[in-house]
C-alpha cells in the first residue's frame, strides 16, 4: 500500500518509506508440539507484564508478551521493529502522515475469536502504557479501510511511528488484545487470565510465582514445545541448582561469581547476551566551578578507566568494551573505537587543567545494585589522583533522585548509569542527555547539541536525520560529555534438553536479553 500524494516529499519518499511488503518467509509446516520447557525467571512476576495495554516501558514485559500475545509488527531476530506478525504487510506513507497495516488471514485469539481490525483499533485507542501520550497526541484518527486493513492517520509527520510501534521492549500499542473479552472481564481480571493471539495460551497462573502455558494450535507459525512453564526463582544459586538438576531448561541472569561453575556443567551452554551500556555522567559539568567543566578532566577520567579489567571482573569477560554509550542495536547508533587506558596521559591532562595533585569529588553513585562497578572506578581514578567515595542507593530512590535533577546531586559528583533502550538512538538521547529529559533533567545541558536534536525531531528527511544523529553522537563522545565504560552481559544458561547448536539459536533477538521467539524453541524428548 503506497500513498504518493505529496510531490514535495517525492525525494524523501524514497528515503523514509519503511514499507515492509515482505511476505512471511517462515515455514507453514504443521508440527506437533512436544515436551515441556521450564524457564527459571530471575525475580518475581508482576501481573501487569501480562497485559500489553499497560506496558511499563521497561525491557521486561516483552518476555511474556511474546509468549501470550502478538503485535502487528515486532522486533524479532535481527529485525529491529518491522518483523511482520499479525500484520502480513505494512507501509508508512512517504509523507510519514499515515501508516497502513494489512492483517494476516485467519488469525484468532486463544478463545477462538478472530483477530479483527476493530481489535487493532481498540488496542491502540485504549492503550495507556509507556509512551501512550506520544501516540495519542500525534494520531488524528484510525480508519478501518476494510476487514483486513487499518490505517493510522497522524496530525503531522510521525517518522518514529513504526520503530516505536514495533519495539516490544519500549511500548506496545500495536500488541493486539481481544476487545470483547477485555471489556467483558476488565483490565485487572485480564491480567490474571489474559487471552492473546500469541504462540502460547495461559493454562494457570500463580500470581508472582508461576505461569503455565500451553502451545496454541491456532498460531500462524509452528510451535514446537507443548508446555512452557515460567517459574520465578529470585535466588541465583537456586536457579543454577535447578539447571544442574534438570529442573529448569533455561535460566536467566547468572551473576559473575557463578559463571565459572555453570560453564563447567556438562551439556549446559552459557548465553551471554549483550545488554545495557554502562557510562559515566558528570552532573552539572556546565558550571565553570565544577572540575568536570574542563574537557581535559573528563578525558582524564576516561583515560583512567580500565574497561577491559572491568569487563573481565564483572562479567567474566562476556560483556563488550565499546566506544559508544549507545548500544549498537538501535537505529542510527554510530560505531566508535574503544577508548584507550593511559594513566600517564591522564595525569598530564590533569596537570594541564590545573590539578597536578588531582582533586576530590563527593560521590560516585552507580545504578543499583551494580555497586562493585562503582568501587572499581573509584580505585582506578585514585591512580590518577581523583579521589572520591561510593554512594549506594536502593533502586527506587536512585530513579527518584535522577528525576529530581541537579539538586539531588550537589557538588562534584559522578553517576554510573546502566541503560538498555531498544529502537532508536534518539530514545537514549531524550532520556539521558537532553536538557530537561526524563532522567537527565537539568544535570546535563549542552545547548548546541540540543538544538541539533530539535532539528532532528522536526526533520522528515531520513538522510538529514541520520546525519544529525551521527553529528550529535560524535559531539558527545569527542567532548567526553558522557564516558562510556562497557556493555554489560546478561548471562543466561541453556540446559541439555534444549535443542541448540549455539546459544544464539535460543537467544536470537538482538534487542532483548530474553529467549524469544518462544515458538521456535525445541526440547529433546
Amino acid at each position: 500500500m503506497r500513498h504518493v500524494r505529496f510531490r514535495v516529499f517525492a525525494v524523501a519518499a524514497v528515503l523514509v518509506t519503511v514499507a515492509a511488503t515482505a511476505l512471511p518467509t517462515w515455514s507453514q509446516t504443521k508440527v506437533t508440539p512436544k515436551g515441556k520447557l521450564t524457564l527459571a525467571w530471575h525475580a518475581g512476576f508482576a501481573s501487569r507484564w501480562l497485559d500489553p495495554q499497560e506496558h511499563d516501558g521497561t525491557a521486561t514485559p516483552d518476555n511474556f508478551f511474546t509468549a501470550i500475545h502478538d503485535g502487528l509488527i515486532k522486533n524479532q531476530g535481527t529485525t529491529l521493529y518491522d518483523h511482520p506478525a499479525l500484520a502480513e504487510k505494512f507501509a508508512v506513507a512517504p509523507d510519514a502522515k499515515s501508516a497502513t497495516f494489512t492483517l494476516r488471514r485467519g488469525t484468532t485469539f486463544h478463545n477462538g475469536d478472530p483477530v479483527t481490525v476493530q481489535d487493532v483499533k481498540f488496542s491502540y485507542e485504549n492503550y495507556r502504557g509507556a509512551k501512550a501520550d506520544v501516540f495519542k497526541n500525534r494520531t488524528e484518527r484510525i480508519e478501518l479501510v476494510d476487514d483486513r486493513t487499518v490505517r493510522f492517520v497522524f496530525k503531522e509527520p510521525f517518522l518514529d511511528f513504526a520503530i516505536l510501534f514495533g519495539t516490544a521492549n519500549v511500548t506496545a500499542p500495536g500488541w493486539v488484545v481481544p476487545e470483547k473479552y477485555y471489556k467483558q472481564v476488565g483490565p485487572d481480571a485480564f491480567k490474571q487470565k489474559p487471552v492473546g493471539a500469541g504462540p502460547y495460551k495461559l493454562v494457570r497462573q500463580e500470581p508472582g510465582v508461576k505461569i503455565e502455558l500451553e502451545a496454541f494450535d491456532g498460531y500462524y507459525r509452528p510451535v514446537h514445545t507443548k508446555h512452557l512453564v515460567m517459574v520465578a526463582v529470585p535466588e541465583a544459586a537456586t536457579r543454577v541448582a535447578m539447571l544442574e538438576r534438570g529442573e529448569a531448561d533455561i535460566v536467566y541472569n547468572i551473576p559473575g561469581p557463578l559463571i565459572p561453575k555453570v560453564s563447567k556443567m556438562p551439556g549446559v551452554t552459557l548465553a551471554p547476551v549483550l545488554s545495557g551500556s554502562f557510562f559515566l555522567e558528570f552532573p552539572g559539568f556546565q558550571d565553570p566551578k565544577n572540575p568536570f567543566h574542563d574537557k581535559r578532566v573528563r578525558e582524564a577520567v576516561s583515560l583512567a578507566i580500565d574497561r577491559r579489567a572491568m569487563n573481565e571482573a564483572e562479567t567474566a569477560g562476556m560483556g563488550k568494551v565499546t566506544g559508544n554509550w549507545i548500544n549498537d542495536d538501535v537505529q542510527y547508533a554510530i560505531d566508535w573505537p574503544e577508548f584507550p587506558r593511559n594513566v600517564e596521559k591522564a595525569k598530564q591532562l590533569l596537570r594541564e587543567a590545573g590539578y597536578p595533585n588531582g582533586f576530590e569529588f563527593s560521590w560516585i553513585t552507580p545504578l543499583p545494585t551494580f555497586y562493585s562497578r562503582g568501587e572499581r572506578i573509584i580505585a582506578q581514578l585514585r591512580e590518577v589522583g581523583i579521589r572520591g567515595r561510593l554512594q549506594t542507593m536502593e533502586r527506587g530512590i536512585f530513579f527518584q533522585k535522577l528525576r529530581g535533577g541537579m539538586k539531588e546531586f550537589p557538588g562534584i559528583q559522578m553517576i554510573l548509569h546502566g541503560v538498555r533502550i531498544a529502537g532508536s538512538w534518539s530514545f537514549w538521547y531524550e532520556a539521558y542527555f537532553k536538557c530537561g529529559g526524563a532522567n537527565s533533567r537539568d544535570r546535563v545541558c549542552v545547548k548546541d547539541l540540543d538544538a541539533k536534536f530539535d532539528r532532528y525531531e522536526k526533520s522528515i528527511n531520513a538522510a538529514e536525520r541520520k546525519k544529525l544523529a551521527e553529528e550529535i553522537q560524535r559531539g558527545i563522545l569527542e567532548n567526553h560529555y558522557l564516558v562510556p565504560v562497557f556493555r554489560h552481559a546478561f548471562v543466561n544458561a541453556i540446559g541439555p534438553r534444549v535443542t541448540a547448536q549455539k546459544w544464539q539459536d535460543i537467544f536470537p533477538t538482538i534487542t532483548t536479553g530474553y529467549a524469544y521467539p518462544w515458538e521456535d524453541i525445541k526440547v529433546k524428548e
Binding site: 520465578a232 544459586a237 535447578m242
Partner: protein, 306 residues
C-alpha cells in the same frame, strides 16, 4: 474475669491500631511507588495520572482513614503489583506458609525440646556441651547459608530432594529444616533453662526422695511444668515462621507469605506490605490474647494482679 477479657481485647485493639499507623508511615517513608510503577521515561503528567489512579495523590491522613475503613471491613486494598485484592493474595499463599510453618515448628520442637531436656538433666556433661554447641550453631548460622548448603548437598549432590518450589512432601523438607533450625536452637536453650529451674525446685527433690524413678520425675513432674513457657514461645515462633520466613522462602522459591512480603517491599507495593504486616500482627495479637485468657483461667492470680 469478664472485665479482664474485655481489658485484654481493648489492649489488643490499641496494639493493632498502633501497628497499622506505624506500618502505614514506614512504607511511605521508603519513597514514591509510582516511580516503580511507571516507565523510566514517564512524563510528570503520566506519573500524576498513576498517582491519582492509586489514590496516592491524597493526603496521608485521608489515605490512612481510607485504609482503616477498608481494613475494618476486612479489605486490605488492592496490590499495585498484582492488581488483585491483598486479602485474596494473602489467603492464596497462606496454605503454603502454614505447611512450612507447621513443619518447621515440628522440627524445632522435635530437635529443641528433647535436646534441651537431655542438656538440663545431664548438666555440665558431654551431652550438655554438645547441646549448647548445637544451640550456638543454630542461632549463629544464617538461614540463607544453611538453605544453600542444603540445596547443594541434598539436591545437587545426592539428588534426593527437589531444589525449590512447592509440591509434595519432598519440597517441604529443606525449607522446613532451614527455617526450623534457628527456632530449634532457641527452643533448646529455653527448654534447658526452664528444666534447670524446675529440676532445682523443692517438689522435684521431694519426688526424688520418695524414690520415684528418674524417668517419672523428669517426664511426669519436671517436664510438664517446664513445658509452659516453651509452648508459649512455640506459638509465637510459629506465627513468625508463617508470616516472615522471608529469606528461606526466597532461597527455596517457596510461594508463601514471607516471599509475598519480600516482593511487596521490593516493589514498594504499599497495600501488600501493609496487609501482610497487619495480618501477621493480627495473628500475634490474637494468639497472645488467647494465651493470656488461658493463663488467667488456669491461674487466678494472673487476672487478679492485672
Amino acid at each position: 474475669m469478664t472485665q479482664f477479657i474485655v481489658r485484654r481485647i481493648l489492649y489488643s485493639i490499641v496494639t493493632l491500631f498502633i501497628l497499622s499507623g506505624t506500618i502505614f508511615l514506614v512504607v511511605r517513608m521508603t519513597g514514591d511507588p509510582v516511580l516503580l510503577l511507571a516507565e523510566a521515561g514517564a512524563s510528570t503528567e503520566d506519573l500524576d495520572r498513576v498517582r491519582q489512579q492509586w489514590g496516592l495523590d491524597r493526603s496521608w491522613p485521608v489515605q490512612y482513614l481510607a485504609f482503616m475503613e477498608n481494613a475494618v471491613r476486612g479489605e486490605l486494598g488492592k496490590s499495585f503489583n498484582y492488581r488483585m485484592p491483598v486479602s485474596e493474595l494473602y489467603f492464596e499463599r497462606l496454605p503454603n506458609s502454614l505447611i512450612l510453618g507447621l513443619a518447621a515448628t515440628a522440627i524445632s520442637l522435635l530437635v529443641g525440646v528433647p535436646a534441651g531436656i537431655v542438656s538440663a538433666v545431664k548438666v555440665n556433661s558431654w551431652w550438655d556441651n554438645a547441646a549448647k554447641g548445637i544451640g550456638l550453631l543454630g542461632l549463629s548460622i544464617p538461614g540463607f547459608w544453611l538453605g544453600l548448603v542444603l540445596i547443594l548437598v541434598f539436591s545437587v549432590w545426592l539428588r534426593w530432594l527437589p531444589t525449590s518450589g512447592a509440591g509434595d512432601w519432598r519440597h517441604v523438607v529443606m525449607p522446613a529444616v532451614a527455617l526450623g533450625w534457628y527456632f530449634a536452637a532457641s527452643m533448646l536453650r529455653l527448654t534447658r533453662s526452664s528444666m534447670l529451674e524446675v529440676l532445682g525446685s523443692e517438689y522435684i527433690k521431694l519426688a526424688k526422695l520418695k524414690g520415684l524413678p528418674e524417668v517419672v520425675v523428669i517426664g511426669m513432674h519436671a517436664f510438664k511444668n517446664a513445658l509452659i513457657p516453651v509452648l508459649t514461645l512455640a506459638g509465637v515462633n510459629m506465627v513468625v515462621m508463617i508470616n516472615a520466613a522471608v529469606i528461606v522462602e526466597v532461597i527455596f522459591a517457596w510461594p508463601g507469605i514471607g516471599r509475598l512480603l519480600y516482593e511487596g517491599i521490593f516493589q514498594r507495593d504499599f497495600p501488600l506490605v501493609q496487609g501482610v504486616v497487619i495480618m501477621a500482627g493480627f495473628m500475634i495479637v490474637g494468639i497472645n490474647l488467647v494465651v493470656d485468657v488461658v493463663y488467667a483461667l488456669i491461674d487466678p492470680r494472673i487476672r487478679l494482679t492485672r
